[in-house]
Symmetry: C2
Subunit: 223 residues, 2 copies
DNA sequence: TCAAAAGTGTTTGTTATACACCCATGA
DNA sequence: TCATGGGTGTATAACAAACACTTTTGA
């Protein structure tokens, strides 16, 4: 990722790695020694024959020591915007990591999304695309579960959703919807969090369900 | 799009152009003279400084003579799959065109998605990605309207949705949902389609509506 | 005047939201 | 024993789906 190819760089693969801190999303950035910006989204020029996804996994592993719990491509970025590399095009991947397992290597650090340092414009666009992808596919993909440890309480899950959606949810309704979706399985463990009744632990274990085949919904964006 | 760069091709931009024929989606392909496959998805190596979106628009215009009614990027493809070019990475765009305005230039032809000729593997993946994108964002974006002419009857609109969803819809419920979404505006025109009562014409003209802020829905994919 | 397609009022069942309450624990 | 957070039964409102019907035209 550091070595800057001499000329004719084909493309780069950039990994927007996200986790959830106390009450906000955080993005992993790497410190630059000689770039125009002090920080940047981790990236890499793929080896010949290396797939895009493999390159993204390598970037993530170099940053965190282990692969993220979730990875998906969010698109290609270019459009004349500046990038730390000289590549004309960069393929961005979104990676999700539970907060506790996320221990960045030296040179890397988490930044709250609202307090990001200056980034190269193309990487700035990637981060925005990544946060949009998170919000947009919140109920199409198990995003929240990939930001939590393997076992969690329902309150933790609800707080994660509230963080991602940016609004409060109704406790009873949230649990009812969860139950109807057959997404979590209770375990025989409880966790006492100081005061109050201990909470039962759950794990993400979706059973195959027939999707309720509703009709069209017309949730279009504003014009 | 035809000229094959000598070496070190950085990347290509490919346009998956789709329209709706009688009862199925169709994709525009271009005839090859000397490729391994006889047909391919139109593509192009962007000029220096040309943005990705601009390159995609150029590809589409070369194929159809006019820009599509809708265009969006669906991602970067590579992963060692073969492509007509020698580029390691191709950025795919989806373009939607109403069927009547879609008159391909010579060398181009529409193919039903179920009867596609052999394509280079990377382009095959792009077409699959495009159809998935269409199905996936059917109720987040005005896909159906971009496949119809500017004015249309509600039955035409319903048939388009039935084509895209692959299932029948209930007439009264469909219209009720449309009305609730404030997406179409009736015009002072009617069209007589042979026998039966003439249908009123509508146009896509969404009014700003506050999105009903529902909670989480957990429409997760099967594991 | 009948078939065909457009268009609508009303009912029914399902789902979302919320209120109100009980449960278990530590201080 | 009380404050705190976990957990749930039940009512109400909102919505989707369907039925059944009226309207308007061409053959």
């Amino acid at each position: 990722m550091r070595e800057r190819p001499s000329r004719a760089t084909p493309h780069t693969v950039d990994a927007v790695l996200a986790t959830a801190t106390g009450n906000e999303l955080a993005i992993l950035l790497v410190r630059n020694s000689s770039e125009r910006e002090r920080w940047s989204v981790p990236w890499r020029t793929p080896q010949a024959g290396e797939t895009l996804a493999a390159a993204a996994a390598t970037v993530a592993k170099d940053a965190l020591g282990e692969p993220p719990a979730w990875m998906e491509q969010i698109g290609a970025f270019g459009d004349g915007k500046r990038h730390p590399s000289e590549a004309e095009v960069s393929v961005a991947y979104l990676g999700l990591v539970p907060h506790d397992t996320a221990s960045p290597r030296t040179g890397y650090a988490w930044f709250q999304v609202t307090e990001l340092p200056p980034l190269a414009p193309r990487q700035r666009a990637m981060v925005e695309g990544a946060t949009k992808a998170i919000e947009g596919s919140l109920d199409q993909a198990p995003i929240a579960f990939r930001l939590l440890p393997a076992t969690f309480t329902l309150s933790e899950l609800q707080h994660m959703y509230e963080l991602l959606l940016g609004k409060r949810l109704h406790k009873a309704s949230f649990r009812r919807a969860l139950q109807a979706a057959w997404l979590v399985e209770p375990m025989d463990e409880w966790r006492s969090e100081g005061r109050g009744r201990p909470a039962q632990l759950f794990q993400y274990l979706p059973k195959k369900k027939r999707r309720p085949h509703r009709g069209v919904r017309f949730d279009f964006l504003y014009p």
